[in-house]
Symmetry: C2
Subunit: 312 residues, 2 copies
């Protein structure tokens, strides 16, 4: 297996480095495996994913499984003392726990989930490689005073701040709560994954300490965002708990705040192709810590057939 | 015409005065005219309004009329120098103009709109009295970084801060933009107008200077809000420009922030029954200024039949 270990000479996706805030074309594929027969899901769904940059699969997990995940989330949010406080993000105003990182390593159940063939098998197919978890996190957007998360492409950050070379990674969001229009659901711009939106500004030192609460750098200009939305529109990922939203690393997404009493939570797993393992950041900053972006823990996953009973 | 000019001895709607944050029953009617024959709209709509505390009427204004209103809004937002800066509210972060008050007095077109029989005639029927404008404002929620507006009952503020004795007032929101699920549309709790949610805390001096940007006092407790939503649910007022949302002064409402590029704007007119003119505030504070709450300018409206041509 030949692994890139150094930055490429030419940066195809320059951002936050003085380059004008233009929109560039993607040069990487979206779906890396062209063999429909090998697809673990209906190949039309794969084509949808390729076109839109995301796919929503309903009822992937049973009510029992979701229940186990929720219990585990409750446990983790409660016993926060056991978790390195660096790995937790709290809401700026209320102090409530908003995200817990690295749950695929710190929780037995979420570790199993990261290996679950329903997820890992699909990631392997789309990326046509062995995969590992680049980042995992439990997101909890509180009711009443849940803050917005501004539009961004994850890849932009992972490239600039983590050194992810190419667009050969994807995220899976497993919803633990019903997502309605009014409680700040994930919004995605279909088709935006085919464009790379160069962001202006320089990345400040230790930017992640702020950006995980409120992203200020690595966000599109108003003009570029408007141009994407005018061209592609906005899709809102509403649906019942237990669905999975799979989205390409470069799909522009964000979410509004939430003043309703209904919290919104999900488990977020980022699968990266082993061939796309991170190198030095595409900036002059130090790489982000291991708990945000795997650099050492990149053992390829062996996908496992899981059932409800495995999560009890 | 006998007008109440003093506070009543017993405050039926105590709030922000040390009273526990409980939910009391409304003692006032919602629809004051029981004569269906006199209704200017289908009486079933009036019954809907009575039950839910609001009513959405689509296509009340033509595209030409909405266009005139938008041009007038643009003019007012641009020539802000002509407006007393007290009467304008800007977004805390961006400094963009968010609201302009008293437009029924400062704009010829919006003055005419406040007299338009389609609005004023309906207000007269529901309140069964002559009416006047208690407050008018142009709301502009910018795209990209539009802030949320937390849940509140307008009556709670108008009672405590302005001295409005009873629930005999209503608001009309004339939408100037399409309201979609994702650009922070008005959310209402159907049925909440039948309850009075007592708020805790004391009103700080000159509270309006902050509360018009971000409401901190006069908002329901999390527990009371949850109880209302559990009982009644949430209605989201989406729809095309040109619709009118009519809602009772005591209907609990709010709106999420808006990170989409689409601004959201409306004209907001509050009709109060002349018999319900304001007295001294139900607090120990000074009354809010005239531009937020009419105290002197309470001449009854004479409703006028208007057509597109009147707004040109």
């Amino acid at each position: 297996m030949s692994l890139p270990v150094e930055k490429t000479d030419i940066d195809l996706y320059p951002s936050r480095n003085g380059h004008p805030a233009v929109i560039l074309s993607r040069t990487d594929p979206v779906v890396y495996n062209r063999n429909a027969d090998q697809s673990p899901v209906d190949y039309e769904l794969i084509q949808q994913y390729e076109k839109n940059g995301f796919l929503v699969l309903d009822n992937v997990f049973t009510a029992d499984e979701i229940n186990s995940f929720k219990l585990e989330m409750k446990r983790l949010r409660k016993f926060t003392g056991a978790i390195n406080s660096n790995e937790m993000i709290v809401e700026p105003e209320s102090g409530e726990v908003r995200s817990i990182f690295k749950v695929h390593e710190t929780s037995f159940i979420f570790n199993k989930l990261s290996l679950d063939k329903r997820l890992a098998g699909l990631a392997e197919f789309i990326l046509n490689d062995q995969v590992y978890i680049h980042q995992s996190r439990l997101n909890y957007k509180p009711g009443f005073r849940g803050k917005e998360f501004y539009w961004h492409s994850d890849f932009e950050t992972w490239h600039v701040e983590d050194g992810m070379p190419c667009m050969r990674a994807l995220s899976m969001s497993i919803t633990l709560t019903d997502n309605d229009h009014y409680n700040g659901p994930l919004m995605l711009i279909p088709g935006s994954h085919d464009d790379f939106v160069v962001c202006s500004g320089k990345t400040p030192k230790d930017n992640f300490k702020e950006s995980l609460k409120k992203q200020t750098y690595g966000v599109p200009s108003d003009k570029n965002l408007k141009s994407l939305v005018d061209q592609y529109g906005i899709f809102t990922a509403t649906g019942k708990a237990g669905s999975v939203v799979i989205f390409d690393c470069n799909t522009m997404h964000g979410s509004n705040g939430n003043i309703t009493p209904f919290p919104r939570s999900n488990i977020f797993l980022v699968y990266n192709a082993v061939k796309n393992r991170v190198v030095e950041p595409y900036s002059n900053q130090q790489a982000r810590p291991e708990w945000i972006a795997s650099r050492e823990s990149i053992n390829p996953i062996t996908a496992v057939e899981c059932q409800s009973v495995d999560y009890e």
